[in-house]
């Protein structure tokens, strides 16, 4: 691919002997020493993730809140300075343009929206088209981003970002600072289910920060690839765009009703989204465990014992933490209760599985 983009850490990944792959138009490390080791290292110690490919869209000005209220499902007016929340960008049909994090940098004036890498251009175009008078800019090329996740992550952050006490910041907070003269923003968010933070840093400072985080004498952090990032989020049943959610997803069916605030405000396609819930949801996103040998994979069909199609797998893997296969799937609502047996069509064979409680792993 000729237009593949590189993050500011590309040379660092190559020096660390990462296996690089094309991901959403970006050359990214899929793994360094091995997916399982990296996964377990994050669950037990501290992992560093290059997430510079994620998009950053800034929404500013006196109309920032009004615009974000219209564009997103969660209630932005509840965010105080330095607070963040997870939210959704609905499309006009009641599906999803993307799932996002919104960071309040200055209440009523300045918000940072972090979006999925593959959706950055689409999101920016959508937000601009449906702008209600805010100053919206795509700052994606300006920022590098590193996620630091795991039980030792906050100790590492306290050391590297002193005097900022990251370990004392509540979940979903963001604070501004500097690192070696570069502007940074440290946010206690992340997508692994572990404690930790995500640091936005001016692109040209990203490599220096990455190497500082790897060079700590107190906490040995290891670089973690996209492979483990995906197994970590799957264990938590966190939705990923292109898997659990897409342009046709009803957010209630995806189990994301907790970030939809129809009573608080109006937003794009609110009536369609709420009506679908009131009429009764047709399908439900559930977790699956295998009762027979086999690994569920995205796209495999769910069936009844008689072979009738009742759903499909959105994400599936062998869980490194549990050392057994796990899957996330949409099933018809009547099959969504915990304990319900279902069959997965794996290469033409019906393999028995069961709906189970999620997250698969309790962490953080």
């Amino acid at each position: 691919m000729t237009n593949t983009q590189k993050t500011p850490l590309y040379n660092d990944h190559v020096n660390l002997k990462a296996r690089m792959v094309d991901f959403a138009g970006w050359l990214m490390p899929i793994q360094y020493e091995g997916l399982k080791e990296e996964h377990q290292y994050t669950r037990q110690h501290a992992g560093l993730f290059d997430v510079s490919h994620m998009g950053e869209i800034r929404v500013k000005g006196p109309k920032a809140v009004e615009t974000l209220q219209w564009l997103t499902t969660n209630d932005v007016s509840t965010l105080e300075n330095g607070q963040a929340h997870y939210s959704l960008l609905p499309n006009a049909q009641g599906g999803l343009v993307d799932d996002i994090f919104i960071y309040c940098l200055a209440k009523n004036e300045d918000y940072l929206v972090c979006v999925n890498a593959s959706n950055t251009d689409k999101d920016f175009a959508w937000m601009t088209q449906n702008n209600r008078g805010a100053d919206i800019t795509n700052e994606s090329s300006y920022w590098g981003q590193i996620a630091i996740q795991g039980p030792k992550a906050l100790q590492l952050c306290d050391e590297v970002f002193a005097p900022i006490k990251v370990s004392e910041m509540p979940r979903n907070q963001i604070v501004k600072g500097t690192f070696e003269g570069h502007a940074i923003m440290i946010a206690t968010t992340g997508y692994t289910g572990e404690k930790g933070c995500e640091v936005f840093i001016e692109a040209q400072g990203t490599s220096a920060l990455w190497n500082r985080l790897l060079g700590s004498a107190q906490v040995t952090a290891k670089p973690i690839g996209l492979g483990a990032r995906d197994t970590l989020r799957t264990e938590m049943k966190f939705s990923l765009y292109g898997h659990e959610i897409d342009d046709n997803s009803n957010p209630y069916e995806a189990g994301l009703g907790w970030v939809i605030k129809p009573k608080a405000k109006d937003f794009i396609a609110k009536d369609i989204i709420v009506k679908a819930k009131e009429e009764g949801l047709k399908r439900k996103l559930v977790g699956l465990k295998m009762l027979e040998r086999g690994i569920p994979r995205q796209g495999y069909e769910l069936k009844t014992a008689g072979g009738e199609k009742i759903g499909f797998i959105t994400s599936g893997t062998h869980s490194p933490t549990l050392d057994e296969p796990i899957g996330i799937a949409y099933v018809e609502s009547s099959f969504g209760a915990e304990g319900t047996p279902v069959f997965i069509d794996i290469r033409g064979k019906l393999v028995k599985a069961q709906v189970v409680k999620t997250p698969f792993v309790n962490k953080g």
């Binding site: 997916l35 399982k36 492979g227 197994t231 690994i295 062998h318 290469r347």
Partner: protein, 129 residues
């Protein structure tokens, strides 16, 4: 990277190796293939007595992330299956050329061996990857 490519084996372009002993062919996955896959967590193999066809899939190996088909190096009948791999596929990573063997096939025709690669050709193939 320096993968061990034994001189006495035959190879498929899809990274299986075949060790020929008269008309019995032992089949495995090459070191290169297991390295590309990462940690193997699941193996699906045929039953004994099943017929396989050269170039067709006869089973599946899965790592945490990826699903890969296994391709038969020769046509014939499966006479033995390495069933220990079903419970513990890790020997596919640890010792792909020995303990990690997959199946033994009684081959129909020696002529098919001419369609397989020898070690120098296979080394060239993986060096280009």
């Amino acid at each position: 990277m320096g993968f061990h490519v034994p001189e006495d084996l035959y190879y498929t372009k899809e990274h299986e190796w075949a060790q020929v002993d008269e008309n019995i062919v032992t089949v495995g996955l090459t070191e290169f293939a297991q390295d590309q896959l990462g940690e193997v967590v699941y193996v699906d193999l045929p039953e004994e007595g099943q017929k396989v066809t050269q170039g067709q899939t006869f089973g599946v190996v899965e790592s945490v992330k990826a699903v890969s088909d296994l391709f038969a190096p020769v046509s014939g009948t499966v006479i033995e299956v390495n069933s220990s791999l079903l419970d513990d596929p890790s020997s596919l990573n640890d010792d792909p050329n020995n303990d990690g063997w997959l199946v033994r096939i009684e081959m129909d025709s020696e002529k098919e061996l001419a369609n397989l690669l020898r070690a120098p050709e296979y080394k060239k193939l993986i060096s280009e990857k």
